[in-house]
């Protein structure tokens, strides 16, 4: 009885140790692939060279497996961006515009940085980006560098940070020094 308890404690400890050990891309993807749907508030700060001060945005971000993400921006103006499958829809000032993602490779690459990450679709991410994972299960960072020459001219890298199966922060860096940082506030 005592031995069994001991073994159990040891097992839990070992498991915890494993969780705190080195964390790789495949493990991260497998972890993310378990999430069926998620929804959270976000706030976004864009720093742009031509502006004296950064721009602030906020709203909610939601994801539903397999291929749907929605970004409802509430401030400073209302805008809904929805990607479902291969169709990108933008609603703004009562007007709706839809385009096929295939036709806009820059936007498609950017969309996948978020959607494929949330889906845990490692092969799609690796197709578009050189990937690098750092940190632990509890505090990981996924650094994406675009493979496509033309996309690389506009996006230097996308850095996604998170904990477990949750994405906490998405940072997009541009070659000219402009940047955009989106922070996701999970309620728990």
């Amino acid at each position: 009885m005592k031995r069994a308890l001991l073994a159990m404690v040891a097992g839990v400890a070992l498991q915890a140790a494993a969780q705190e050990g080195p964390w790789d891309f495949a493990q991260l993807m497998a972890q993310l692939a378990q999430v069926q749907a998620s929804k959270a508030r976000y706030s976004e700060v864009k720093r742009v060279a031509v502006l004296r001060e950064p721009l602030h945005f906020s709203g909610t971000l939601s994801y539903a497996r397999p291929a749907r993400i929605e970004k409802h921006q509430a401030l400073p103006f209302k805008e809904v961006i929805r990607v479902d499958g291969e169709v990108l829809t933008v609603e703004r000032e009562g007007k709706t515009q839809s385009v096929a993602l295939q036709g806009v490779s820059l936007i498609a690459t950017l969309v996948e940085s978020l959607r494929a990450t949330l889906a845990g679709d490692g092969s799609e991410l690796e197709r578009l980006y050189a990937v690098k994972v750092e940190g632990t299960r509890q505090r990981w960072t996924l650094r994406l560098t675009p493979r496509d020459f033309e996309v690389a001219g506009v996006v230097k890298s996308v850095v996604i940070a998170g904990s477990g199966s949750r994405v906490a922060r998405i940072e997009i860096l541009e070659p000219g020094g402009d940047s955009s940082v989106m922070t996701i506030h999970h309620e728990s």
Binding site: K46, R52, E53, G103, S105, V154, D178
Partner: protein, 777 residues
């Protein structure tokens, strides 16, 4: 008598040598299809030919790579584009990748204040600038902001976007940085060949070069290359005709030789049968080259068909030889009839000779000279070289066409009824006899046209059927006028009459328009002040738009955009393909895309002010009309030829009734053949008409020889044998052609086979009636 064979041979040798020498030294063979297009008159017709000959659209190749992964397709697309760009056979190539669109983009950015239709003085006022800056702020924050920012500080008023709005409709979808079809299964490229779109030989060479480059560079062996375009059509047509013609000619020749060997029982006679027609062809080609300067490949191809009748001439002589008779003695009996047979064909060729379509009149010369020479060779050269009296006589055939004709003469009423029915059908359906659709002359299968349609849609390439043509006396005036027309067109597009249009002035505005835009740009101090005020209350850095101010000033002081500045960008080719000049007259072409309401378009085009000198062209109906015109003309001249033949027959036979009875069977056969085609629902094209002229020549010969002697005399067997051999050889040759998959070849084969069969039948049955009528009289 010893002198004669030598003199004849010497004359023949001199003629062949002279023709051969002329052809070797002077004859130019071309593959230019325009010989079969108008040489003349209306500006719409000239334009059509010009477009077909060398217009940018005619030199465009639409290219697709399919099979396998999109990423690999994109790689192959880049490799292929690179290989083609280095090849002199291609003037321009693009797959939408940055390196190919970059020069055009830079030119557009650098000249945006001259090119943008939105440039007015008002656009640089404080109010407008503030509005623009406010909108830009939203754009920066928006989804597409990242790409937008690249040109923001240079172009805050968004002129580039304004220019792109016009062109965006004409850019295909993009993946992995290159053009793709919407479903991502095909990578797309556009190439412009150096060779004219109707030079089938050079186009084939260019096509081969592309295939070789693709085979070398493709990223995945599962990928395949699809190419379409007018030049590709020309090359494929030529290849298809050549392949079919070669194979069918082989089979036909073998059948003809078999028939001749069976009947003549002498290889010498078989070989000699080819002498008149080959000599006729050689001299005929030399004559065409002498008269026209060059010989068209198609003239050669169809000319061989037309003088095919000459193969029969030696047959008429050899088959009527009796045992122990020399050829000269045979000719003494046969020549009067044969001479008439030759001369009727020579006069029949008048119909072609007089045509204003150069291709047809070349055919006329070739057939007239060729047949005449073949007749002379049969008369004078064959006896000089033919085997002597001791040669075996031709085989006795187990049947007699003359007896067969007599046997079925009771059934002659069937033919009369058929003839009346045929004539009635022709009168009733007189408006449906002709098929002038130029598309039906194409020898290519439907799938080829389908692929072209798919690629055109995916590449947003115009399928030029409707276009507006703006005429003027200078390039400037043509550009300026077309800009005014474009204003109306925009309005029509808004009403849904058409989807869009292309315009040279979109890429190169008239100097007048460029000057107006340049004059609208503000002075530096004015712009600085308006901009500073517009920025108040907005979060932009004070000096953020310095590049904008510099570039507006540069444009204000800079030169206007000229065609020469556009070299190497691809835009110059576009402009040149939309601006034509000939004999001091300039034409701006405005191809219309997605015409939904042709009738409305026509009435709107008519309502344009007369000083714009604008004509709406429907190239399809235009070309159909042209073809119809030539067909009508050929028909009229055929009437003249028929009259000449009638006079000739009367002169030769010295009997009106006999002349009529000779003409009746063949004209009846032609009427029945045409009625047959009409009854089957397929109209007659120009090629059918040319074939019917051959039927006329061959059919008249049948009737002439049937009429030469009464039945039951010694020559009955000879006449029957002569006609059997002539008909069987014709049927062998043209029956083979009728099996071709190529519409043009099978039309010729079918028309001649049916026409000749009916001519023979009519001559047998109706001709005998005449003989009976005469003996009864």
């Amino acid at each position: 008598m010893r002198l004669y064979p030598r003199a004849a041979l010497l004359a023949w040798f001199a003629l062949v040598a002279a023709s051969g020498w002329w052809i070797a030294r002077h004859a130019v063979f071309t593959n230019d299809l325009t010989a079969f297009l108008p040489a003349s008159s209306g500006r719409a017709e000239r334009l059509l030919v010009e477009q077909l000959r060398s217009g940018g659209a005619s030199r465009t190749m639409l290219v697709a790579i399919e099979g396998g992964e999109p990423a690999q397709l994109a790689r192959s697309s880049r490799e292929l584009a690179r290989a083609l760009a280095a090849d002199r056979r291609f003037e321009y190539v693009t797959n939408g990748a940055a390196e190919y669109i970059q020069p055009a983009r830079e030119l557009t950015i650098g000249n945006r204040y001259l090119l943008s239709p939105a440039v007015t003085a008002e656009r640089f006022s404080e109010e407008s600038l503030r509005q623009a800056l406010r909108e830009n702020l939203e754009q920066i924050g928006s989804f597409a902001g990242m790409a937008f920012k690249a040109t923001l500080v240079r172009d805050p008023t968004g002129e580039l976007r304004k220019i792109a709005e016009g062109a965006a409709q004409s850019a295909p979808a993009s993946r992995h940085g290159v053009w793709f079809s919407a479903d991502g299964k095909r990578a797309l490229l556009l190439a412009q060949t150096a060779a004219s779109g109707i030079d089938a030989v050079l186009q084939q060479d260019t096509l081969d070069a592309m295939g070789a480059a693709f085979a070398l560079t493709r990223a995945d062996p599962n990928q395949s290359l699809l190419v379409s375009g007018p030049g590709v059509f020309a090359a494929r047509t030529r290849a298809a005709i050549r392949q079919d013609a070669r194979w069918l000619t082989g089979v036909a020749s073998m059948l003809v030789v078999l028939v001749l060997v069976f009947v003549y029982r002498s290889p010498g006679a078989v070989a000699l049968s080819a002498l008149p027609v080959l000599t006729g062809l050689l001299v005929g080609v030399a004559a065409v080259s002498l008269v026209f300067g060059s010989v068209h490949g198609i003239t050669l191809a169809f000319g061989i068909t037309l003088i095919g009748e000459a193969v029969d001439y030696p047959s008429y002589v050899f088959t009527q030889r009796r045992s122990g008779e020399s050829l000269l003695e045979v000719l003494g009996r046969v020549w009067p009839t044969l001479r008439l047979a030759v001369l009727t064909t020579v006069f029949g060729s008048l119909a072609l000779l007089l045509s204003s379509l150069q291709g047809l009149s070349q055919l006329g010369v070739l057939s007239m000279v060729g047949v005449l020479v073949a007749g002379l060779v049969t008369r004078w050269v064959l006896p000089a070289v033919a085997p002597g009296r001791s040669a075996p006589p031709p085989r006795r055939l187990p049947f007699s066409l003359v007896r067969a004709g007599l046997a079925v003469r009771r059934a002659a009423w069937v033919l009369w009824i058929l003839l009346v029915a045929a004539l009635a059908l022709l009168v009733w359906r007189h408006d449906r006899i002709w098929d002038d659709d130029i598309g039906h002359l194409s020898p290519l299968p439907e799938s080829v046209r389908e692929l072209d349609g798919q690629l055109r849609a995916a590449l947003r390439a115009p399928n030029v059927r409707y276009l507006l043509m703006v005429s003027a006396t200078s390039r400037e005036a043509a550009l300026a006028r077309s800009e005014r027309v474009a204003l109306s067109l925009q309005d029509w597009a808004g009403k849904g009459v058409l989807e869009g249009f292309d315009l040279a002035a979109r890429y190169l505005p008239s100097a007048q328009t460029q000057e107006r835009r340049r004059a609208a740009l503000p002075e530096p101090e004015t712009l600085r002040r308006s901009l500073a005020k517009a920025q108040q209350g907005l979060p932009y850095r004070a000096d953020a738009f310095a590049p904008f101010q510099q570039e507006v000033e540069a444009a204000r002081r800079g030169p206007l955009l000229a065609l020469e500045d556009m070299r190497g960008t691809g835009l110059d080719l576009k402009v040149q393909s939309l601006l034509l000049s000939s004999e001091g007259e300039w034409q701006a072409l405005i191809p219309l895309r997605g015409v939904r309401d042709a009738a409305k378009l026509e009435s709107l085009a008519r309502s344009l002010p007369a000083d714009l000198q604008t004509t709406l062209l429907d190239l399809k109906s235009e070309s159909d009309r042209l073809i119809g015109g030539y067909r009508a003309q050929t028909l009229a001249f055929a009437g003249v030829g028929a009259l000449a033949i009638a006079i000739l027959l009367y002169a030769g036979l010295r009997d009106v009734r006999r002349a009529l009875w000779v003409m009746l069977p063949v004209y009846a056969a032609i009427a029945m053949t045409v009625a047959g085609f009409v009854a089957l629902g397929s109209g007659l094209s120009l090629f059918h008409l040319v074939s019917l002229l051959l039927v006329l020549g061959v059919g008249l010969n049948y009737a002439l020889f049937f009429n030469q002697k009464e039945a039951g005399t010694e020559s009955e067997q000879e006449t029957s044998r002569a006609l059997s051999v002539c008909f069987l050889t014709t049927l062998a040759a043209f029956g083979c052609l009728a099996t071709s998959r190529i519409p043009v070849l099978s039309a010729i084969g079918l028309t001649v086979s049916i026409g000749c069969a009916l001519s023979l039948l009519n001559a047998m049955v109706l001709g005998q009636v005449s003989a009976r009528a005469r003996s009864a009289a």
